[in-house]
Amino acid sequence: MLNPALLMRTSFFIFLSAFSLSHAQVILPSIESSQLAPELKGRVLIEELNCVACHQADDTLASASRKSPRLSAVGSRVNPDYLRKFIASPHKTKPGTTMPGLSDSLSQQDKESIANEITHFLVSLNKAHVFKQEAPDSVAAAKGNELFHTVGCVACHSPRDPDGKELLLSSSVPLGNLSEKYSHKSLREFLQRPHSVRPSGRMPDLRIPGQDLDRITHYLLKNTRIPGHLAYTTWRGKVWEGLKGDVQPEKAGQTNDLSLTTFQGGNGKVPQHTAIRFNGFLRINTPGTYTFHLEMNGGSLLLNEKEILNEAPSDRRGVKKLTGTANLKQGWNPIEFTYFQTGRNANLKFEMEGPGFKRQTIPPSLFATSDQPIPVVKPLKVDQALAAKGKAHFVNFGCVKCHDDIKATSSDYPELSALKSDKGCLSHGSSSPHFDLTPEQGKLIALALPKASSVTFTDHQLVNKTLTTFNCIACHDREGLGGISPERNPYFTGTSEALGDQGRLPPPLTHVGAKLTKSWLKEILVHGGRQREYLNTRMPLFSEANVGHLVEGFGKVDSLEEATLPKVVNIRESKNAGYEMTGAGGLSCIACHDFNGQKSGGAGALDLIHTTERLQKNWFHLYMRQPSRFHPTVIMPSYWPGGQAIRKEVLNGDTDQQIEALWTYLSDGQRAKNPKGLSRQSRELRVADETVMCRGRGPASYRGIGVGYPERISLVFDSREMNLRHLWKGEFASVNHGSFQLRGDNRITFPEGIPFYRLTDMDASWPYKGKTNHTFPHDHGYQYRGYRLNKEKRPTFLYHYGDISVEDYFEDHLDENGKAYFNRTMTFNTTGPQKKFYFRVASGKKITSGKDGWQIDSLNLRVVGKISGKIRDGDSKELLVPITLPPGKTTLHLEYRW
């Protein structure tokens, strides 16, 4: 595994020399790195600088251009101090920004007062929330550091050294000083929904889970400082052995005093086996000798870096009374107190006594996290007069042209087609906004300008332009257009080392339009589909509007020669050959590839059951014959070297038929029969072509039996009470020893209790196994007798109710719309006549009866044949079907649809 921290240090030394950035120039790294034609680069620049906002041109340019950040809520998102600074001097505040500065003809003083007025205006727009910073959590930040450098942030932004110094500033999308700019809340919200503030999606949505978003945010804001009383860090684990060994830091933050209030859980208790370290300064008004009285299991106290107390924690005893003294000077004395919540009746009492200070707990006012004052960010009080002036500036300086979520009329500028490359914004003239373009950038724009207002691109150009605009080329190469730069390469890591570079680098996009199906391309680009779970770098989500055209674009541009697709005469034979080849004893594809969610023996290569939904058949044939043609470093061997089959006995050794056989077999997708030798190690049970069962502790007593059916619907039958307890759809279950949990969704739940009962009083409750009716349900005549499996492994449950024997069989079916449902057949067998009993079929909040059945909440239940039902009122209603059995065999058919 690569060690990002180590790499960071290495790259720090290598690239520091290359670090020679003048602060005042626009940085658009994708334009720098792309091998796009200069004219197209100029066009991308015009789009990225949103020239069209002021200089009118055709709609194509307008829709491709990058919209500026939405500002209507900027007052709660960005620190007003930062706003003021940034508006006055954008390039100084955030080197590399595309935001232009105010006209150079203004004095610095004028710029500052204008910036202040605009800030008042912007903050006045926002009534919802006040900008407020929080103390960062250093424990989360450490994890955030790792995430920032692995999940893909550093593909565009600069990696950082352990001190936070940005290492590749000149080739990275700039971030500026985020601690000055954002609060934890606002940055997290932005990272979670970047498109809502920056609708053009250059910053994509990485779909990072909430907890990881928190961590990355804490990392990016780790230099935020806010005043407080005491800083703390907590640890969990075997803290009875101290802070060494198997103990993990949990979180960090600020608290008011040396009590445990901050750390109590929902039950009012500090979780056992927690260690807490408090750090800060203690203010002493009268110098002298102070005595500390503590009650705790274990911990240590340091004052002015001198140990006053130290008691090793132990899980084998209770709290101890401890005393220590220290000579303290007037003013701020550094204090560090480590406390262990362990042992019997763990608790903390912390008191101090000294000159003029009678024995008591220390109030928060005597603690501070720093002995130096930390400035407080005060919310900006909007001055309406200033805001009004600011609004005028916002219009007059043309801010409103780009930040057009704020509606206001403004004056017109020359049309794009009329622009000269040596005038206005492009000159260093004094009256225009100041973009700080490099001479090269100026030249590129000059090249593109004559045609920029109306140009038609070839499909090829359009694809390449989009890949550059969205910096796809930071991660993917495509015929030399871009690709991962050598200095960023080490940050691309993965979890399957055995796959080599393929296990850590995002796939190249060369030929992708001839490789992937359109539906899968769309799934990846706009729905966040993801197959390569072993890549640590996450494929982000872009919007349909921004990149949707690539789905068609790739298809138009890419083509490969046509492979020979053989005609399959006997589909069954072909499928079976595919099955044999995939498994152990065949080509053993599953030795490296996952299959239907089951991990492979080794490499963890792509799950095979998605093959036909992802890939074009033509490409599959070409690839299988010679994988190295498409990936020079691929570890997948060729099983048909020189077009000759290695396995001569399969399908007469016909190469095309063999490859086609794999395709026909895999085209069954999740229903493909599990190949021989497939691992059963996964705790997630997957259903393929046969029913899968599990049982034990879980969603229905300790004797529940879970059954997952091939049509991807499942049920739990409780063998303790002989009743159906759950129906659901999608994934089946996960198991752990003798327990299982349901997965999937659309769950229908049935109440606990026996299925049949001779209810004599309609107000009586339906019997179920309580904690103390120990012989239930045998005392109601029930006896479970097991089950038998048919050829498809579907179980028929067997049980007795008195002298009635019951066979209970569920079968999965698809309706005319392809929706799965259960058909249940209950066969009753009795020798003598049976007195009427009720079958409680279901219960729910709302039960209505229809033509051929009932609707019980979201469950539609049909009975085949004429059967009456009784809806019993109650807290939850019950559907009871009266049953009278003649001697012999009686069958009841039910259908469960939901």
């Binding site: 086996h273 049982r695 063998s719 479970y784």
Partner: protein, 498 residues
């Protein structure tokens, strides 16, 4: 530190604090290297795709081995008894609860799983089971601790099931803490109360059924307990189920805590004392499945003895039983240590090998063997180790039987035999230290003509005590030292004079 097989299995469920791995598991016997000369360990390879946490074994026709697992699978293995083993794994059944009992009879496998006893059969001969007849599921099963361990079929076709309590102290659900007998037609007959956390269930050479019990409340150490019909085996939490047994009343008295077995067995007439006490750590910490050696000498000189696995210490022990005054008792002996994982069960093979297998549990409980799961095989090389083969009691001493002739000069010297005795506090608290130590006097040792046994005359045999022997100076006639010098005889009864 507490000992039980149940702890490792359920710590996760109960959310108890995990135990430090640094914990000392106790000294090893230190004999592994010497043992390997007679009983080398052979590893049975497990393919990576097979989730194999073995809980029970059974021999099938055609030299196949069935393995029941914690995950509820039954695998059928061929080629396990070959040298070197060349196993293939076929999945016979899945979707059961944790399987800690497997027995083949009349073309079907009967599995004891936590919730039921199930007769599992492949009726269409495709190698995969299709019939799962629940013989009974009529015991309570509603808490994490409530395990069930099953025997092989007895001669009448019954399966005996030992049902652990709901934890260490309580019995919340029907027949927890009892042993029950399940007949071939699915009747469940309660046998006896008083169990705490039993492991395996098996019969001795006389066909009498025993279970292995874990140290804990009312159990000073692990022990082998006789499943005697209508009797009580020591832990009173399961008294509450007597009203559910037709024609059997609860014992009139409950045992008193902080007493001694020898006192309480006289007070509570239904109380059957453990047949063999296994002194804690010296002889196992979490003894699990066991089986009788019926290999007719193929496994060496220990025909008709019982062989036990131990979970925590990853070792194998053996024991011999005898019935004195209607009460079973006997001795236990070290056999083989240094196995790879926590041993859950053992099984003799038709070739006279001993299969041992098990697992460790997610670092929640210390196990000496470091593999997360394993199946191993002990093969006898054909060389006879010099061992104490069996100890039998006499009114005034013991007879020591050896596997090889002894050096008469050493064997006749009473100083060759160091003997201490001790017992445990019989209490509701957890486990017990060894208490009431005595040092009986070995007065005389008489070697038999064939030099294969020694008659010891002893003054001060203690009823209800473990008799802890150390024969360190003993040498064989060929002047070889004993492979294991220790043996532990539990005296419940002293036979009347001859």
């Amino acid at each position: 530190m507490v000992n039980t097989i149940l702890k490792p299995l359920t710590l996760g469920l109960l959310g108890l604090p995990t135990i430090s791995l640094a914990e000392d598991l106790g000294a090893m016997w230190g004999t592994a290297e010497a043992e390997a000369e007679y009983y080398p360990l052979v590893e049975i390879p497990i393919p990576p795709e097979v989730p194999m946490h073995p809980g029970s074994f059974e021999i099938l026709p055609d030299q196949k081995l069935a393995v029941g697992t914690r995950r509820g699978d039954i695998y059928v293995l061929s080629g396990v008894f070959e040298t070197p083993p060349n196993p293939t794994y076929e999945l016979f059944a899945s979707g059961q609860d944790e399987i800690f009992g497997l027995s083949w009879k009349d073309g079907a496998l009967t599995a004891t799983q936590f919730g039921e006893v199930t007769r599992i059969k492949d009726t269409n001969g495709d190698g995969s089971a299709d019939q799962f007849n629940a013989l009974t599921n009529n015991w309570g099963y509603a808490e994490g601790h409530e395990f069930a361990f099953g025997s092989k079929h007895d001669p009448d076709g019954n399966i005996w099931v030992a049902l652990g309590l709901s934890g260490s102290y309580k019995s919340h659900n029907l027949f927890r803490g009892w042993a029950v007998k399940v007949t071939p037609d699915g009747k469940m007959i309660p046998v006896c109360s008083g169990l705490r956390s039993p492991g395996g269930v098996a019969a001795n050479a006389e066909g009498v059924m025993f279970t292995i019990e874990s140290q804990g409340p009312w159990n000073g150490s692990c022990s082998l307990k006789h499943l005697k019909q209508d009797h009580f085996l020591g832990h009173p939490a399961s008294y509450n189920w007597y009203p559910f047994v037709e024609g059997l009343d609860a014992p009139a008295l409950e045992p008193e805590s902080n007493s001694r077995l020898q006192v309480e067995k006289k007070r509570v007439k239904e109380l059957v004392p453990p047949a063999i006490l296994f002194p804690y750590i010296k002889m196992g910490r979490s003894i699990s499945g066991f089986q009788l050696d019926e290999t007719k000498g193929k496994f060496g000189p220990f025909e008709n003895q019982l062989f036990f696995g131990d979970y925590t210490l990853s070792l194998i022990m053996r024991a011999t039983t005898e019935e004195i005054n209607g009460v079973w008792q006997g001795a236990c002996y070290p056999f083989r240590e240094g196995l790879d994982t926590g041993i859950m069960n053992v099984q003799f093979t038709p070739k006279g090998q001993l299969i041992a297998g098990g697992f460790t549990t997610n670092r929640q409980w210390p196990v000496r063997g470091e593999k997360p799961f394993a199946i191993q095989r002990l093969d006898w090389t054909g060389k006879t180790p010099f061992e104490i083969k069996e100890i039998n009691i006499r009114p005034d001493g013991f007879i020591f039987n050896f596997t090889l002739p002894v050096n008469s000069a050493i064997a006749t010297d009473p100083k060759t035999y160091t003997l201490t005795t001790y017992t445990h506090n019989f209490s509701a608290g957890y486990g017990s230290p060894e208490v009431d130590h005595t040092e009986p006097i070995v007065k005389r040792a008489v070697v038999s003509d064939d030099k294969l046994s020694v008659r010891l005359f002893i003054e001060g045999i203690q009823e209800s005590h473990i008799h802890d022997f150390d024969l360190a100076p003993m040498m064989s006639a060929a002047n070889k030292p004993l492979l294991h010098t220790k043996a532990y005889y539990t005296v419940n009864e002293i036979p009347a004079g001859e």
